[in-house]
Symmetry: C2
Subunit: 263 residues, 2 copies
């Protein structure tokens, strides 16, 4: 089993052109994880940029990605002193799998916030959480270590809470430290919060935007997922990621299709 660094590595093969080998461990039965794909896209965007961090990433997911070879095309749209922007596409079999607008910048690890909003309700201590593994035999739980707040996992036992919230601790099992690429994975690692609203089955993400807000400390990350509206077959999911130093290090919103709800 390769580490996260190797699984997200990209090789530059030309001006704005990269190759990768997508790792089937970073997925569930149906598809490779969108956060994993965003980590691969971010590797290419950062490589093609003078900046260090994927500050802003907006991704459209068009098709399911498969394990194996993929190409990444980075079309630089603007390079500035504080930020650079690129249109980045993941390609398999000559078809676009995902498109992303990625803005890179260089965050100062020592920056102190001028203003920071209140943290969400804390995730319970690790020993009180559950390390749920889905029964589909996916590899995701072999590479990502997540410990879930039991109060947000009632949907597992057919008792969805009615609140679109899921909270968990997150880290990579191979010891890969929390960084901007791991954050790309963290913002899309939770089960869909709509499961707590009675949604059933797979909820394909249509669009996900996430922002890296600070350089995280090594160690466990707290991942807080919520949602505002489930209507007309669409639902939104917001994720905040907080590091061990109590700092907001990433925030995301995605909009997804929900196939069925049980009322």
């Amino acid at each position: 089993m390769s580490g996260f660094g190797e699984a997200t590595a990209v090789a530059r093969v030309g001006d704005g052109r990269y190759e990768a080998v997508l790792d089937g461990d970073y997925g569930f039965a149906e598809a490779l994880n969108g956060g994993y794909l965003m980590a691969v896209l971010a590797r290419a965007a950062v490589d093609a940029s003078p900046h260090e961090h994927p500050v802003s990433t907006a991704t459209n997911f068009h098709r399911v990605a498969k394990p194996g070879p993929a190409q990444i095309v980075v079309d630089t749209r603007k390079q500035g002193r504080t930020a650079a922007s690129a249109f980045v596409t993941l390609v398999q079999d000559d078809r676009p799998i995902a498109d992303a607008l990625i803005t890179t910048g260089t965050l100062d690890a020592a920056a102190e916030p001028v203003y920071a909003g209140a943290a969400p309700a804390p995730v319970p201590p690790l020993e009180e959480c559950t390390d749920f593994r889905p029964p589909t035999g996916d590899g995701f739980a072999d590479v990502v270590d997540m410990r879930f707040d039991r109060r947000t996992m009632g949907w597992l036992d057919g008792q969805p809470s009615g609140n679109p919230e899921i909270r968990a601790w997150f880290r990579l099992r191979d010891g890969y430290p929390a960084d901007g690429f791991a954050l790309a994975l963290a913002v899309d690692a939770l089960p869909p919060v709509a499961l707590n609203l009675g949604a059933q089955g797979w909820a394909p993400t249509v669009e996900l935007t996430w922002h890296m807000r600070a350089v995280p400390e090594p160690g466990w990350l707290a991942v807080h997922g919520t949602g505002r509206l489930l209507a007309d077959g669409w639902f939104d999911e917001e994720v905040e990621v907080w590091d061990g130093a109590g700092r907001l290090v990433a925030q995301s919103r995605q909009i997804a299709r929900v196939p069925r709800t049980r009322s």
Copy 2:
């Protein structure tokens, strides 16, 4: 003075190619408003799609747009039964001004939410609000009618509240009804919430993602702006738009640069 419909009109001149004339009224001293530009981009995306509504729009703003002729290029990336995705670019003087990933869909105006989160604190009645006009002589206040909650406008008198919140009522002065294109304007119409944190001057938006969540009722819209973190020269701003029927009709997040803060 042209109406909002005319100001955002696009003319198809080829396969995925459109022309527009950007209206200087939809801006401030420094630049045309980003929401106005997103409305123009959405017109082109919807025209090129079998669907009716701009369900998801993620925009990177590269350069200041000027009043006058502009071109819009719509690169369709996927067309599906429930949604279509396109990479849409606004061009002036042969340079990309803004890039957007736009997913179109067709929302059901009669859809009832399966779940809706709590509404934010209400905007006070119109007669208790202030119709602040910036002293820069911009045309924006001539085309957009906004009434601000005075408690969120302390920054105007040099007394920022310390809370990154601004609330206002919003409508177009020409009677153009609330629709998906007006929502594009509404999500970027507030002054920067960071003004209430002591930020000074213009705060250029780097990225803004917004989602249309329901078909709004005609009439005033309530616009609620908040933020979570101001650090390292970056701040986020979240906007929710609620219609007169008490429904969440749009939600957005942007990330922007803040040039200076006064502490």
